[in-house]
């Protein structure tokens, strides 16, 4: 057996649920579903609170789903594994939290402020991290996000430091001609869904665009993409920043949802959570991040009622996925449907 070393030469063949037009009936159905992926995803999210165990969890899953979606742009579609996305979720959360708690801004403006802050952090981290390639990218993004973590930890007067940022109270969302009572979990859910839905639509447009095609090419074969004339570094940087902005929006929503930004939002373990959700759900699949977010949250929630050491099981389950189910839940479902259709 001459198995190639894990990272050498052509070994970068992480199995991906590649879109493939089908000739069978299942294939046609899948292609049809693919064309309407935004509508189908939103339809699911609209009914989701009615099937979720309780509604506060549904908002969590929505927000984490957006976080995993943003992460997946980089990991699943561009092939870059970042271990620093907590800096963007946290940047978005602190940005919007500070805008509301310190400056009393309207929640809508706070979302913009949070997304903007995350975008800036992503640009700064990206410029540095993009200079390293392959597996070093994971190490560099992790280290840079730790730097951001310590910076926010230290800036106590703005961020509340170790105690977290408190006082983000948005009981009522006042929009022109509309007052939404965010204390009602259902109202809150659909208000958040309106924002997440918009992001999902933008994300889908991005994937279908020529830019999205180029990202896939970079994921598939960086050297070839470069030889085709793509400035790979610049495209990766743009993808990194867009990914950061999406995760920042998720963070901004999370701050409003939880009324607090714990410092852990920026911690390494939060970056790891994005990785876990993306892999559990199915990286490089459109709907996978939401499946991953739901799986992770339900798992965490269910295990936490049984044991305070739920992380042991989460870790073990994650290991099992890497070993036996690398396509993730949704990726595996798609793969099986495709196989059945041939």
């Amino acid at each position: 057996m001459s198995a190639p070393a894990p990272g050498h030469a052509l070994a970068r063949g992480t199995p991906l649920a590649a879109p493939r037009p089908g000739s069978g009936r299942t294939g046609r159905w899948l292609a049809l579903a693919g064309r309407h992926r935004v509508a189908l995803t939103l339809a699911f999210l609209v009914v989701f609170p009615w099937i979720a165990p309780y509604q506060a969890l549904a908002v969590n899953i929505l927000v984490l789903g957006l976080y995993a979606l943003g992460f997946n742009l980089l990991f699943g579609y561009t092939g870059l594994l970042s271990f620093g996305h907590a800096a963007f979720l946290g940047g978005g959360a602190y940005g919007s939290g500070i805008a509301i708690a310190h400056y009393g801004l309207h929640p809508a403006l706070a979302l913009v402020a949070g997304t903007l802050l995350a975008t800036l952090i992503a640009a700064a981290m990206g410029v540095l991290a993009i200079r390293t390639r392959g597996i070093y990218f994971a190490m560099t993004t992790l280290a840079l996000s730790m730097c951001v973590y310590y910076a926010f930890y230290r800036a106590e007067s703005f961020t509340g430091g170790e105690n977290g940022l408190r006082g983000i109270n948005v009981p009522v969302l006042a929009l022109p001609g509309l007052r939404l009572d965010l204390l009602d979990p259902m109202v809150k859910y659909y208000a958040v869904l309106a924002v997440v839905g918009g992001a999902v639509w933008l994300f889908s447009r991005l994937l279908s665009s020529p830019f999205g095609a180029a990202l896939e090419a970079i994921r598939e074969n960086e050297g070839r993409a470069q030889a085709c004339g793509y400035d790979v570094r610049r495209m990766k940087l743009v993808a990194f920043v867009i990914s950061g902005a999406l995760c920042g929006l998720a963070g901004a929503l999370q701050a409003i949802h939880l009324s607090i930004v714990p410092i852990e939002t920026m911690h390494y373990s939060t970056s790891g959570q994005a990785v876990m959700m993306a892999l559990l759900g199915g990286m490089g699949t459109f709907f996978g991040p939401f499946v991953g977010a739901a799986t992770f949250s339900l798992l965490q929630d269910g295990l936490a009622t049984l044991t305070s050491h739920w992380q042991l099981f989460v870790g073990a389950i994650f290991i099992a996925f890497v070993l036996f189910l690398p396509l993730g839940i949704w990726g595996e479902v798609l793969a099986r449907l495709r196989r059945a259709g041939w």
Binding site: S2, A3, P4, A5, P6, G7, H8, A11, R12, G13, T14, P15, L81, F83, L128, A129, R131, T132, R133, G134, I135, Y136, A138, M139, T140, L142, A143, L144, M146, C147, Y150, A151, R154, V232, R233, Y268, G272, V275, M276, L279, H309, Q311, L312, V314, G315, A316, F318, I319, V322, L323, P326
Partner: protein, 299 residues
Amino acid sequence: MTDLTIGGFPLDLLALQLVTGVALGAIYVLVGIGLSLIFGLMNVVNFAHGAFFMVGAYVGVFLYGYTGSFWLSLVAAPLAMGLLGLAVERVLVRPLYGRGIDDPLLLTFGLSYVMVESVRIAFGLTGLPFGAPPELRGAVDLGIGYFPLYRLFLIAFSLTVVGALWLFIERTSFGLVIRAGARDPQIVQVLGIEISKVWLAVFGLGCALAGLAGILAAPLQGVTPEMGIPVLAEAFVVTVVGGMGSLAGAVLAGLLVGIVVAMTSLVAPDMTKMAIFALMALVLLVRPRGLLGRAGALG
């Protein structure tokens, strides 16, 4: 004894900080070399490296409580982590060879959760206090001031280990295989050596070094289940600063990072944690391949 100052700091204080920095750097060197060895040969980033560091510290502290012998802990901790590393490579990492380069990384990341939580179950959430053993407590006068004995010991001991490791890699036939394998795994196959055995041994060796660093660091800070997380990030900095897969680079960068931390804590204590990452950012901007890194590992 001295009223000499540099930048407003008395010389003996600076010397003390330097020793502190080098001692800290020695820890980074041990952790960084282990990471670099595994990475250079197998292209695997061991995300559980910090967890091996932490478990090594716990094993050492636990044994010390029973035996009262720090020397025994100093042998047992790396040994235990080496064995654990062998098992992990054999059972968990090996099935992933030939798959994507991110897979072993993801797996060891999940493993670190399991290791941290297992320690929490076994030893509690809060950690254990631990100080230098009696025979290594106190300070010695080196002529320019008093220095904590344990730190001096830590430096001397780590340098000895690194020296031995260097001799092992440069002078033994197994070391030759490691060096050849890092350049091209196929060369090793051609030599008629099963590369998977080399990978197994190197993974164990790297984990043993992490365990050793853990027990050496324990008297400086005590042990907690989370102690491995910052160390993992800092070891990554050491690897990036030192250069891709370069052992000499890991030594140089480890010491440099330790000294930068110690000096920053003197000048701007608030910035200590960030100084490490500022150093990495600077290296990435000026010399992205790292101080002693080979070209080609980077785009």
